[in-house]
């Protein structure tokens, strides 16, 4: 697979380490109830189709990317820096 890195262009997926569903960015407040953490950490939509997911450019520039990929065809529809995506989800400090 090739991932279109927003800064570096097409890079082989082998340079990356995969984490999983990008929903793992939406971490609950750390002093909240365990139930929210349970759902956050353990439950997944696991779609057959478009999936936003986290890839770490471990053998590259060490950017975490949010890649939008179809899990049925493996087609990649886009990739952005995870920090920008995270900010877009309201994460900051």
């Amino acid at each position: 697979m090739l991932i279109l890195h927003p800064l570096l262009g097409l890079r082989d997926a082998q340079e990356f380490t995969y984490l999983g569903d990008a929903s793992i960015i939406d971490r609950p407040d750390g002093l909240t109830e365990p139930e929210a953490f349970h759902d956050y950490l353990y439950l997944r939509d696991n779609p057959a189709g478009v999936h936003k997911e986290l890839w770490f450019h471990e053998q590259g520039d060490r950017s975490w990317l949010v890649v939008t990929r179809n899990t049925v065809t493996h087609e990649i529809l886009g990739a952005e820096l995870a920090r920008d995506y995270a900010r877009g989800r309201g994460r900051s400090r």
């Binding site: 999983g20 349970h38 899990t71």
Partner: protein, 416 residues
């Protein structure tokens, strides 16, 4: 029809005209007592044991394609019960015992072959971990032996003992482990279930559940609505998709696992070998192909195919362990979709919907579990309480913190 050597002999002399279908192709009836969704090994075994062991009747197995066409026929055929943790070991040992009597149970030769599995270790720390595991196995009534380097060398003299990057220091051997002919397991259960009146309905995809007041009434399918008092779902690889139709999110991700076979070769490898310093395991089939596999590809996928990285990684492990295979040729690769769970262990449990039961999350270990999975799921469906060997496989275990994490990797499915 009973299969026997005599029957084979008679048919051979009379032109094989007497063989009948191994299972029927009935049309679905309007309703059943129990509908099992999924005609893989687990679903078929469930139906078989429901009929044979739990006295249930009016059972249907619904399969969206052809029975045994999913992971039942896309694995590396290994059976073993060399687990570490209390939640797992009794279940897999129960499975092993069912394997040992399977052919007589089914009147079908699934070629259960107990030629042993040897997990190699390369460091003292791995040795201690295997010692812990081997002891856990024996405590649970399974068999295990710890071999030192010279014993391993005697068993497998062609391994790389002299130029290894990670020297072989020994191995954990389970002699009762081995392989079984994967397709035959599905066919044998199908035939056995069919003979006991189970309707096996192929090309019948479940598209939804009819749920009223928190109770399941039946399933919508591509061949119409089918009523059911109880519905058991055993569709590993598609679990999230199917259970989403019942409004459930699961602690499961779908990942692709590739497996490989070489051209047929005269026998060189007797048992199953796993390489503790790389992602590689191997056995040799009765047809002579070296069957091997490694890690999952590592990203969510519903495509039954993988990429080059894992092929190369597995080949590197193979060559590092057995440099004699350099001139053996990889003949075929295939991919299956795994239900990778959050702790690497499966689920056999009720769901919040009354009458709806779930069996899944087998990761890449589902094949060896087939008999016990079917038996325990049948137990749960028939009696509404878990089988004693499967009590840990609850969906709420993450809420309670009762994970069964053999690898100690935490909530990251692709690392299990």
């Amino acid at each position: 029809m009973k299969y026997s050597a005599l029957r084979v002999f008679r048919e051979a002399l009379t032109g094989h005209k007497g063989w009948t279908p191994a299972w029927r192709d009935p049309d679905p009836q309007p309703s059943y007592d129990i509908v099992v969704v999924g005609g893989g090994g687990h679903g078929l075994a469930t139906a078989f044991y429901l009929a044979k062991e739990f006295g249930q009747a009016r059972i249907a197995v619904l399969e969206k394609g052809w029975i045994g066409g999913g992971n039942a026929g896309r694995n590396t055929t290994i059976i073993r019960s060399n687990y570490l943790l209390d939640g797992n070991q009794p279940f897999y040992e129960f499975s092993m015992k069912l394997w040992e009597g399977l052919e007589q149970d089914l009147n079908y030769n699934a070629m259960v072959s107990q030629r042993g599995i040897l997990n190699l270790f390369h460091t003292d720390a791995q040795r201690d971990a295997y010692t812990r595991r081997g002891n856990a196995m024996i405590l649970h009534g399974a068999d295990a032996e710890l071999l030192d380097r010279s014993q391993v060398r005697k068993m497998y003299p062609f391994l790389n003992f002299d130029h290894a990057r990670f020297p072989i220091k020994g191995g954990l051997l389970q002699r009762r482990a081995g392989t079984a002919r994967h397709d035959a397991v599905a066919w044998g259960y199908a035939r056995g279930a069919d003979q006991r009146g189970v309707d096996i309905i192929q090309n019948c995809a479940v598209t939804g559940f009819r749920i009223v007041n928190g109770r399941v009434l039946g399933v919508e399918t591509t061949r119409g609505y089918i009523g059911a008092i109880k519905v058991g779902v055993a569709v590993a690889g598609s679990s999230s998709r199917v259970m989403a139709a019942a409004g459930m999110r699961l602690p499961i991700e779908s990942h692709v696992l590739q497996a490989f076979v070489t051209e047929g070769l005269k026998p060189v490898i007797d048992g199953v070998l796993t390489f503790g310093a790389g992602h590689f395991y191997v056995s040799q089939s009765d047809k002579g192909g070296l069957v091997f596999g490694g890690d999952i590809d590592g990203y969510n996928s519903y495509a039954q195919r993988g990429n080059m990285a894992v092929v190369e990684d597995v080949a590197e492990g193979g060559m590092a362990l057995m440099p004699m295979i350099g001139r053996a040729r990889l003949l075929r690769t295939w991919g299956g979709i795994m239900d990778m769970s959050m702790d690497g262990s499966p689920f056999i449990d009720r769901t919040p919907v009354q009458g709806l039961y779930f069996n899944g999350g087998w990761c890449y270990g589902g094949f060896k579990a087939t008999p016990a999975s079917g038996f325990c799921f049948a137990h749960l469906l028939a009696r509404d309480e878990p089988h004693p060997t499967a009590v840990a496989y609850r969906l709420d275990r993450f809420r309670r913190g009762a994970m069964i994490d053999e690898k100690g990797q935490g909530a990251q499915p692709n690392l299990h």
